[in-house]
Every structure is written in C-alpha cells, then in structure tokens.
C-alpha cells in the first residue's frame, strides 16, 4: 500500500508543527496543573473544603467534573480532566476537517482522487493519522502524569481515556466533513458538538447525587450522553475502570462506518447538506466596507457572545456561596492569587470569571484583525480597495467591528452575570460588580486589537500566528504566571496582568489608562504605516 504510506506521510508532514505544539501544550498543562495543585492544595483539609464548596455549588461541577473524594489524584481529575477532554475533542475535529472537507473544498482532494488509488484511501489515511495522534496524546498525558508523581495505573488510564475521547471526536469530525459543504461549516458543527458534549456532562454532573460527606458526586443520566462523560466515568486513580471507554470506541466505529458509507455514495466535492442559496440582491446595510466587515464577522461574534453569556451566568450564580464560608476562606485566598482582586469571596469569584470573559473579548478583537488579513490574502480586499475606499478607512472598519464585538461580549457577560445573580438572590451590588468587572476588561482587549493590527500592517503573513500566539501567551502569563512561579517581569508582559482592579478596597484603574494610551498609539501607527505598504496576498 504505497498510496496509503504517501498520503499518511503527507498528513504528518503538513501537521507536524501544529500537532506537536498541541501535544506539548497539553502535556505542559497536565504537568503544571498537577504540580500547582500539589503546591496549593497539598493538605487533605484544604481539599475537603474545596470539594464541599464545589458540591454545594453545581456551577463549579458544571465546569470541572464530578468529585470523587478528597485524595490528591482524584482532585487532579476533578479539576482538569473535563477541560482536557474538551481540548482533545477540538484537536481531533480540526484535524479531521483539515484533511477531509477542507481538501475537498479547495479541490486538492480531486487531484488525489484522480490518481489510481481506492476511493476510501484518503479517508483511511486521515483516520489512521488521527489514531496515531490520539495514541501520542495518550502517551503524552500518561507520561506527564507519571512525571508529576501520580500513580502509574491511574496515569495510564487518564491518557487512554483522553485518547478514547479524542477518537470519538475524530469520528465526529469525519462525519461532519461528509455532511457539510465547507470546512468552516464542518468545523462549526464538529466543534459545536465537542462543546455540547462538554456541557451535557456538565449538566449531568451538576444534577448528580451528592454523597453525605459532600466529597463525591454520582453523575446523572445526561453525563452518559457525552463522550467526555464516558471518559470521566472511567474514574482514573479512584475506580480505575476502563469499561465506559468501550462506548467511546463503539461510537467512533459507528460514526466512521456512516462516514464511509456516505463517502462511497456521493460525488467528490459534494455533501449531504448542499450549498444554500441566498438573496439575489444585497440588503441596504451591505453598502460599504463597514457593512461588509460586519457581515463577514457577525456569526463568530455571536459565538463569542454565547460563550461570554455562559461564563457570565456562571459567575453570577456563584454569588450564593459567598455567605457560606465567608471571606477568610482558604479558597478565597487561592482565588485572590489568581485574580488579585475582590473583597468578598463572591467578588473574588467574579474577578476570576471576568478575567476569562476578558480573554474571550480579546480573542474576539484578535479575530477581527485576522479577518482583515484573510480578506487581503484571498484578494477580496483588492476588489474593495479598487473602489473609492481609503485604505485607512478599510482597516478602521475592521477595527470598528472588533471594538463593537469586544463591547458586545463584555456587556452580554455582565448582563448574564447580573441576571443569574438576581435569580439566586446574591448579595447586594452583584450587578454593579459585574459591570465594573466587565469594564475593567476593556483596555486589555483594545490593546490586543491595535497591537495585532500593527502586526498585520508590518508583517501581514504573521497576523494569525502572532495574534493567537500573543493571546494564549498573555492569558497563560496573566492567569497562571503566579501559580507556576514565574518571575514577576514575565507576568508583567501580559496585558491581563495590568487589567484594572475594579472590585474590593484597593480599586486601581491606572493600568487601564496606560493600556488604552498604548492601544491608541499602536492604532495610529498601524493606520499611518498601512498607507506605505503594498496590498498583497503573500
């Protein structure tokens, strides 16, 4: 099977940097999370407080998972496994769509299909490559768990369970590629399924039965609808039972078989859900480059806003636990280490949640600039710039949509937090705190917007990698820099480290003003320099 070998090598070669980066990042996350938990929750008593707090507030269980006792390794699984499952799912769906629907969409698949290879061979090669990646993922996670000093059998099961989750979503990505015509739609459906699976098990775990000592949760039935739920049900380090993972493999088998059946029956380049038709004439709103920028971006803005609404609602609902343990709680200390903010426990929680909202908002800003770059790269920007549209105006329109998107994300989160706080009868001033916390996130998001715009003007080809790179680095340094013991100067590199302190006794907005000033300088610089460079696809 030389054909299979060539196709497999092509996939490995194309993905080597990307997949390796993902694997290393997940490995680092596992290792640092394990060691950071060790440092912060070394004592049995601390862990019990944390878990009782969690089981008393279903919102935490939604985000984390069902607690399985106060042992250290059980706490490790509780705090990070579901999130790792989410990551493993996304890595796999993107991989499947990248080598399948995206290839058909661009017409490259036809070049390959015209060679004397069996019809299913490219699909087989993608499946095989996905399986290899999941094997590597399992090895990486198991290895990092062992390296962090966790029990070997549990470590191996952790890796295997994540690999099994990954395989399920690999199959989801393959099937989505059969169903949808474009890679964007296939990615949307597949990634949406991953998030849905994460939420389904969240709901199941939140509705689960809590043990009398408040340290265990037995998940309810919705968790059993989710491949991530099946992974959690293997309970690494505690029950250590791999049986539920049979469901992951079974689901993958059924989905891959369906994808193969569809694949041999359809035309190359076609899909189950065909291309929609649309309006023959444009709406009145689509009459300038601002209208176009908004038209191109509003679907993703809604996606970001939905995420912000979920986070906000979650943050608001945490208000109820404020009264239960009081502000002197060791958990509150930990949260302050994370956010450096807030007087009461609920304020501290709110700060942490809104830091995450701020990262979403910054992501939205980064994406707006990347969209401008994509327009340039596929040459549709030329069509607009050959009309009487000033370049500066064109860029400003994308930045304006970016600012609007940031505001929408922050306001939606604040409104959601206020509503959910009101619904659970949270303490006085929760709504005010939510809006103050949201406002505090604005400067960092605007700084990201204009910094990435500057990169777009100076080094257009690097807009996307640098944009996402500085966002992830900033989020990591700002959120975890202190926890993993990085020096202060490294932490200070992140805009999120300078986010204004909006709550508590030491309110300080100075960092925000500095960042807004920097954002203005970078924005003006980008506008001036854009006039001086060529508009080019490379």
């Amino acid at each position: 099977m030389t054909g299979l070998g060539s196709l497999l090598r092509q996939r490995i070669r194309r993905d080597r940097v990307q997949v390796l980066s993902w694997l290393l990042a997940i490995g680092a996350l596992v290792f640092f999370a394990a060691t950071a938990l060790e440092d912060n929750f070394g004592g049995q008593a601390q862990r019990e407080v944390l878990l009782r707090l969690a089981t008393a507030n279903p919102a935490i269980v939604v985000l984390r998972g069902p607690p399985q006792g106060a042992d250290f390794d059980a706490l490790f699984i509780f705090s990070i496994f579901a999130f790792l499952g989410l990551l493993a799912g996304l890595v796999n769906t993107f991989l499947a769509v990248r080598h399948f629907r995206a290839e058909e969409e661009t017409g490259r698949a036809e070049l390959v299909a015209a060679t004397p290879i069996p019809r299913l061979l490219p699909l087989t090669a993608t499946l095989l490559w996905g399986l290899i990646v999941n094997l590597l993922l399992a090895l990486m996670v198991s290895g990092c768990c062992v390296a962090a000093g966790l029990d070997v059998a549990g470590s191996i099961l952790t890796g295997v369970a994540l690999g099994a989750i990954g395989i399920s979503f690999l199959a989801v990505g393959l099937l989505a590629s059969e169903l949808m015509l474009t890679s964007r739609a296939a990615n949307g459906i597949a990634a949406g399924t991953v998030v849905l699976a994460y939420l389904a098990r969240g709901v199941g775990d939140a509705l689960g039965a809590v043990s009398d000592d408040g340290l265990f949760v037995t998940s309810a039935w919705p968790s059993w609808l989710s491949p991530i739920g099946w992974g959690l049900a293997s309970h690494p380090f505690t029950a250590n039972d791999a049986t539920p993972l049979v469901l992951n493999v079974g689901l993958a088998t059924v989905l891959v078989a369906s994808a193969c059946l569809l694949h041999v029956r359809r035309d190359s380049g076609a899909s189950v859900f065909g291309a929609g038709r649309g309006r023959a004439t444009a709406r009145a709103t689509l009459s300038g480059s601002l209208g176009l920028a908004w038209r191109l971006q509003w679907p993703s803005v809604i996606g970001w806003a939905l995420g912000a609404a979920l986070l906000g609602a979650f943050g608001g609902a945490l208000g109820t636990i404020a009264g239960s343990d009081g502000a002197t709680n060791p958990i509150a200390e930990q949260l302050r280490a994370l956010s450096g903010d807030g007087e009461s426990l609920s304020q501290a929680f709110l700060s942490v949640i809104f830091t995450a909202v701020g990262i979403l908002a910054a992501g939205c800003a980064v994406q707006a600039v990347i969209r401008a770059r994509q327009e340039e790269a596929v040459t549709t920007a030329e069509l607009v710039l050959a009309a009487p549209v000033r370049r500066v105006r064109w860029l400003a329109d994308y930045l304006a949509v970016g600012i609007a998107a940031v505001l929408i994300v922050l306001i939606v989160a604040a409104v959601a937090a206020s509503l959910s706080a009101a619904a659970v009868d949270a303490e006085e001033g929760a709504a005010r705190d939510a809006f103050a916390s949201a406002l505090a996130q604005l400067p960092a998001a605007l700084l990201y917007l204009s910094l990435v715009a500057l990169v777009f003007v100076l080094w257009p080809r690097f807009t996307a990698p640098v944009g996402w790179g500085v966002l992830v680095a900033g989020a990591f340094l700002g959120l975890f820099g202190k926890l993993v013991g990085l020096p202060e100067w490294a932490e200070n590199l992140s805009p999120f480290s300078h986010t204004p302190v909006a709550l508590g006794t030491e309110v300080d907005w100075s960092g925000g003003f500095v960042m807004i000033a920097l954002a203005l300088v970078a924005g003006v610089g980008a506008s001036v320099l854009l006039e001086r460079r060529d508009i080019a696809s490379m």
């Binding site: 291309a275 038709r277 649309g278 689509l286 040459t379 710039l385 009487p388 000033r390 060529d534 696809s537």
Partner: protein, 328 residues
C-alpha cells in the same frame, strides 16, 4: 480637442522589485482616451504588477504612474471613483451570493441612478447567463469572472482596467464580453485590456503595448505593427521551376511543402512581388497578413532559438505572485 482629453494612463520608467526579482524594469505605458489598449505579454511579464501599481495597491520601486493625470498612489481614491477593475483570478466572499457581491461592489463605486443601475444589472445578468442567488463559494471560475464583469459594467466608468478578464469564460461568453465592452467604449470609456489571448486582442484593440520581462518592447496600432512584419504568400507548386521562384523579388524563406510554395515578404514590399506572380500565372494564391501571433513571436519566439533560456520571462514573475495563485 486633445488639449482637453489628455492621456488617460501614463507610466514612465516604472520599476518594481521583489527582492532580487525585477518584475518591472523601466516600463513605459501610454493609453489614450477612447481606445481599447491591448496589454500583451506572456505569463510573468509584469502585466498584473503594472495594473496593481495603476490601482495604487502596490508601490513602484521607481518611476511614476499617473491615471487621469493624477498620481496612482496618492490620489487613488479620486481615481477609483472613475474606474472599474476586473482581476484575472476573481475571489469572491464565500458566504455572499453573487448578487450581493455585485451590489456591494457597485455601491462602493457609487450608483448615481438606481433605476439605471437595476436595468443595466438585469441586462448583464441576462446576457452573461449568471444566477445571482448562488453563494460565492459555489461558483465555478468562469462564473466568478462573470460576477466581476457584471459588477464592472453595471456602473459606468471612464476607465476599465481588465486583467485577463475572459480567463475561464467559454467562447460564447467571450463574444458577449466583447459586445458589452464595445458598448462601454461607445459610451466614452477607455480600456486597458491585459491579455495573452491574441485573437481577443486582435478583435478588440485599436492599439497594443507588448511587454516582456518588465519592459515595453513594442507599441503602436495594429496596422503600424503589421507594417513592421512579414506577410505570408503561398500558391500551388505545379509547373514551376526553381528558377521561376528565384526570380520573385524580396521573397524570403522560400520553401516547397506538400505541393505548395510558401514564402514571406516584407509587408511594405508585397506589391513588388505581385506582378512577378501574375506573370508566372500561379494557381491557388493565398496572401495572409501577419497575425498578432507573429508580432508576438517576433519578440518572444525568436528567443527560443537564442542562447537565452525560453523560461527567462517566466522566471521574472515575482515568486509571491506565483505562490498566491497556486496556494488558493
């Protein structure tokens, strides 16, 4: 009259360097009002680069380009109010329909009369047989090209910059394109038509500029250029001797092939050969004027026998342009 209607496009000594590659190497270009100016050259000669400079999308490394007497870079917006552009490889927004893209581009250029625009658009959609309600990603190459052509012709312009506008169109649609373009010119438009399809240029263009490796190597009306080249004459070889053929004045490259004599003669001296042919009472006489292809080959084809590698012109194409095309 010409005092008012000054040169529409004027480029002097244009240079564009991409690293060590000189895409344009001292290019001159003059386009007069009301003409369809053929802009000829093989792939990579610098046609698209020139048009991108004229549009202000790219900065020349050296030299200057003016459109309507204004600087192509600093006055880009006011120039763009008066021109329409069709790229050779049209990309559309995948989630906008063709109709939405046409409306958007027309609105960007400025629709003066709604009724007039609607009427023109309906006419163009009809003659180009374009379905405007399909999403951009589902159009074939030819249909994407039609979207750009309809958008360009739906709003009147003083100048049409067309960069290989018929690539991907079938011959019937090429004919529609030629008809529509002629109407635009009759309305007072000027056209710069970049192409390497010689028959198209021959049918449409009043003047041509031939460029090679970033320089103009020939410029003039087709009639002028024809005079510079040789006419092909051929007739039946029956009953003719070598001596008869040797007596034909100014004949070059005389050859006998499958029963026919063929030779070339300078277009200017063709008349001198005719009395001799009449005296020989030749049969089946055909006289073929030089085609544009021969004009073209005069500048490119000769090279193929030279020491210079035939790929020299292609190598001059900026690497980024080639990547951009193959990467899509």
């Amino acid at each position: 009259m010409f005092g008012f209607m000054s040169t529409v496009i004027q480029a002097r000594n244009l240079q564009k360097h991409f690293g060590r590659v000189h895409a344009l190497d001292g290019l001159d270009l003059d386009v007069q009002p009301g003409e369809i100016h053929g802009f000829l050259g093989p792939n990579g000669a610098g046609k698209s680069t020139t048009i991108r400079i004229l549009l202000g999308l790219a900065r020349p490394t050296g030299g200057e380009a003016t459109v309507f007497g204004q600087n192509s870079r600093t006055d880009a917006v006011s120039i763009h109010c008066r021109l329409a552009y069709v790229p050779g490889d049209v990309s559309l927004w995948p989630n906008l329909t063709g109709g939405e893209a046409i409306d958007l581009l027309s609105r960007l250029r400025g629709i003066r009369s709604r009724d007039e625009y609607d009427r023109r658009k309906r006419h163009l959609l009809d003659v180009f047989e374009l379905d405007p309600s399909k999403k951009g990603r589902t159009y074939s190459k030819g249909n994407r090209q039609k979207v750009a052509l309809v958008a360009a012709f739906a709003v009147p312009a003083e100048l049409y910059l067309l960069d290989e506008p018929t690539s991907g169109l079938d011959p019937l649609m090429e004919a529609v394109f030629r008809r529509e373009l002629s109407e635009r010119v009759a309305d007072g438009g000027t056209v710069l038509l970049s192409s390497h399809i010689l028959s198209e240029v021959e049918q449409l263009c009043s003047r041509v500029s031939i460029i090679r490796a970033g320089r103009r190597v020939e410029e003039g009306s087709l009639a002028e250029l024809r005079r510079l080249t040789r006419t092909e004459v051929s007739f039946s070889a029956a009953n003719l001797t070598e001596a008869d053929l040797a007596g034909i004045p100014a004949a070059r490259d005389v050859r006998i092939d499958s029963g026919r004599v063929a030779f070339t003669v300078d277009s200017a001296t063709l008349l001198e050969a005719l009395p001799v042919l009449a005296a020989l009472r030749v049969e089946g006489l055909t006289i073929t004027p030089p085609s544009l292809e021969e004009l073209f080959l005069r500048h490119y084809g000769l090279d193929r026998n030279d020491a210079q590698p035939p790929t020299a012109a292609v190598a001059a194409e900026p690497a980024h342009a080639r990547h951009a095309r193959s990467g899509r």
